[in-house]
Each structure stands twice: as C-alpha cells, then as structure tokens.
Symmetry: C2
C-alpha cells in the first residue's frame, strides 16, 4: 500500500515522527504537503481534509495519514497503526500498550518543548511572547528537560530485556521517536542537553544506534530530510538555551 502523509511543508514538525517510521521501514509513501498544487498536492490538499470537505471525519490538525480510505490523525495514533504493518513493533498486546504509553509521554514532552518558545499562544509570533518564553525556558531547562530525559534513561536502564531498546529486545517506532526528539533537543538546546550528557549514556547509545540504521542514514543524508529551522518545534534561540 502507498501511504499518503499530510503535513505542512517547510518544517520537520510532528510530521517527521511519521516520516522517520516510514523511511526506516522502506515504506512507499507520498509526502502530500510537499507536492505541487498543480498536481492536487501541497497545502490545498491538506486544507481540503481539515475543512471537512474531503471526509466526514476531518482531522483537527496535521499530521494525518491516509491509508486506503482511512484517515488517521495524531502522531501516536498513526504510529500505533503503522508500526505492526511496518515491522516496527512486536505481535503481543502488552508491549504494544507499553510502547503507546511511551509514545504519548514523548507527545507530551514534544508539546512542552514547543511551548518553550510559544508559552502564550501559537497565534502570536515568538517575538511577541519572548519575555514569557525566557521565563519558561529557564524553568524548562532546570526542571522539565532533565525530568523527561531521566525518565527515558530509567526506562532503558530498567528494561528487563536490556538497555538497548525502549520496548523489549527489538527496535521499535518509539526508539525512532526518541531519536528524533534528542536530535531536535541537540539542535535547539545544545548547551542545556550538553550539561546532562553524562547522565544519559543509554539514551546516547540508542541515538547512536538508530543513526547507523542504513535506511535512517540514507534518509538523513537525502533531500527528503528537511533541516531543523526556526519555524518548527525545535528552534535554536540561544537566549532560550541560557546564553546571555
């Protein structure tokens, strides 16, 4: 099946979590948002679904995935659907529920990371909420950043099947999502995450392992991988990373 991913062009954003799974599995997919409106792709194609004109089950926001007639919204929901079909999770129910819980914790983490530069509203520019962002960033670096990362470090440490994977003894989609989150944090908060580096040996090993997966490496080196930038979730504003 050819999957159709719907996400805003120009940023990695939340769509990247789905892209990474599709790329790692070598799946056939169309990145609709990055196509041309001349070919019925691009932003107008997204908007047709968001408006409810294309489906009686409109998504609230991108990313969403079209798989045959099915329209699936929210990263965690999409990955839960795709993972068994792409070989990115095992067969049993228990580890799947555990994996989904981890993915939802990452979802919360990612929302908090985004809100560091947008503490008031996504309807305002960063520059319009910079003072509030500075206050939030300080609290984020001191409390939430270490809290989330130490949690995932602990999950790896306590995995009875070994610290190489978050779920059981197999690579899964949750490993890919943690990988992407850490790359984003290294881009946005190099100073803050650098200070935690010694406390995160298992996470760092996981990130290094995922980066060496052949299809992940090929993808990161390709033009399909858009660079991090200051329009996405992970933005490098030095002042929010504690530089004065």
């Amino acid at each position: 099946m050819r999957y159709e991913l719907f996400y805003w062009p120009g940023i990695q954003g939340r769509g990247e979590y789905v892209r990474l799974a599709l790329e790692d599995a070598g799946a056939d997919y169309l990145d609709v948002g990055r196509g041309s409106p001349d070919q019925d792709l691009g932003v107008p194609a997204l908007e047709m679904y968001l408006s409810g004109d294309a489906t009686p089950r409109p998504p609230f926001a991108p990313p969403f995935l079209k798989a045959g007639d099915l329209v699936i919204s929210h990263v965690a929901n999409i990955l839960q659907f795709l993972a068994p079909r792409l070989g990115l999770i095992g067969e049993q129910e228990d580890p799947r529920i555990w994996a989904h819980g981890l993915q939802l914790t990452l979802t919360d983490f990612i929302a908090e990371i985004h809100d560091v530069h947008h503490p008031l509203s996504s309807t305002l520019y960063y520059e319009e909420q910079r003072d509030e962002a500075l206050r939030r960033a300080d609290l984020f670096r001191r409390h939430r950043l270490p809290r989330f990362l130490e949690y995932f470090e602990q999950v790896l440490e306590q995995n009875p099947r070994g610290a190489e994977y978050l779920v059981g003894d197999e690579h899964s989609y949750v490993d890919l999502s943690l990988f992407q989150t850490v790359l984003g944090l290294r881009y946005a908060f190099p100073r803050a995450i650098g200070q935690l580096d010694d406390d995160l040996p298992k996470i760092n090993a996981l990130v290094a392992r995922v980066a060496e997966r052949p299809r992940v490496r090929a993808y990161l080196d390709s033009e399909r991988r858009q660079p991090f930038n200051e329009d996405g979730i992970f933005r490098h504003y030095p002042e929010l990373d504690g530089e004065h």
Copy 2:
C-alpha cells in the same frame, strides 16, 4: 476483573476521564489514590509505581490503570484499552481509530485548558505566573476555545450516522470525555463558553444526553464524584474568564 485506578486524590484531574468510563459501564474498580496508606493505598502506592520500584515499566505520571499484571498509562491509552472491554466502543477497527484520534484531540485541548492558568510551568503556583496567565487566557478565549469547540460541533454535525454521537450511532467513551470537558469549561469559563452557547447546539445536546444516563447521574450525585476546585485542570479564576 477489578481494575485499579491510580490518580492523585483531591482533584478530578485527568483521572476523572477514566473514572467516568468505569462508572458509566458499572465496572468494578478501586480508586487507589483515594484509599488509606494504612491499607497500602493512597499517594505512597502511586509513588511506588512512579519510582519504578513496583514495575520495570514505570508510568511517567498519573493516571495509570492496573489491569491484572498490566500497567497502562495516559488517559487515551487507558480508555482505548478499557472501552472494548466495557462496551464503550464498537467492534470495528476504523471507528476505533477515529475515536482514538478524537480522544487525542481532547487530550491536547485539556492540556491547553490547563496551561491557561499555568502558562510557564507546573512547578510554579498560579499566583507566580498570573500576569502571563492573563495574557494567555485572553488568547485562549478568543482563539483556541472556539476553535476546539467548533471542531467537535462540526464532527457531530458531519457524522453520517447522526449528530447524537461523536462516533457512529452508538454512545462511546469519547462522548463521556467531551461531556467532562464541557462540564469543566462551564465551571472554569462560564462567561466565555456562555458566549459560544448558540453555536454549540449539538454539543449541548450530547452533554444533556450523557448527564441523563442512569449510572452517570448516580455517579455525579455520589460522594465518589469530587467537586471541581482550584487545584485541578478546570479552575474558576474570574479574571481568566474575562471579568474585570
């Protein structure tokens, strides 16, 4: 099976979304957090799981549900697990995926509602971020509140099986979650949601319908239902509701 719900005592919070499903289905459950530490219940029981001492798969935060040996975290994950067992969702995969997507949109909405009074960090008191909260509340009332509510109104309107239910032609756990969210908004933002009242006839009808379900009504009238208060997600601070 007797389910064990783990959530902080003293507030409805996110735990309430799970409680409502259990109560509506007449399920047997233990509300661990509200029990006594003398009986190995209460907050120490929660902390044992959060610390990772009780399970190699520690939740990041409450609520979590124990079902036999399984520990399930995050409201949407718990409800996805419970709903088929409690008769709160149909058998088919497509509507289940749609229901889960709607629940995850509610999850995002609830997080935004919470962050109105905590725009900087949950590690600070409201009073320490009141100025930022005032700014955020204004944007929330003008943009995000109508945006989310109009979305759910549209979902009801566009439901090919009729506007009575969010998913297909049957009552589901997502209806319960929307119900709880609207009750919370009516408590926290009576003025703002009152101004939208004429635009939300389908939502209002759904809320009235759910309130008349016998077990929901019995629950709301019982001592098991804790009142809304200013420690939970939905807090009534008149200044955040646009009163000057």
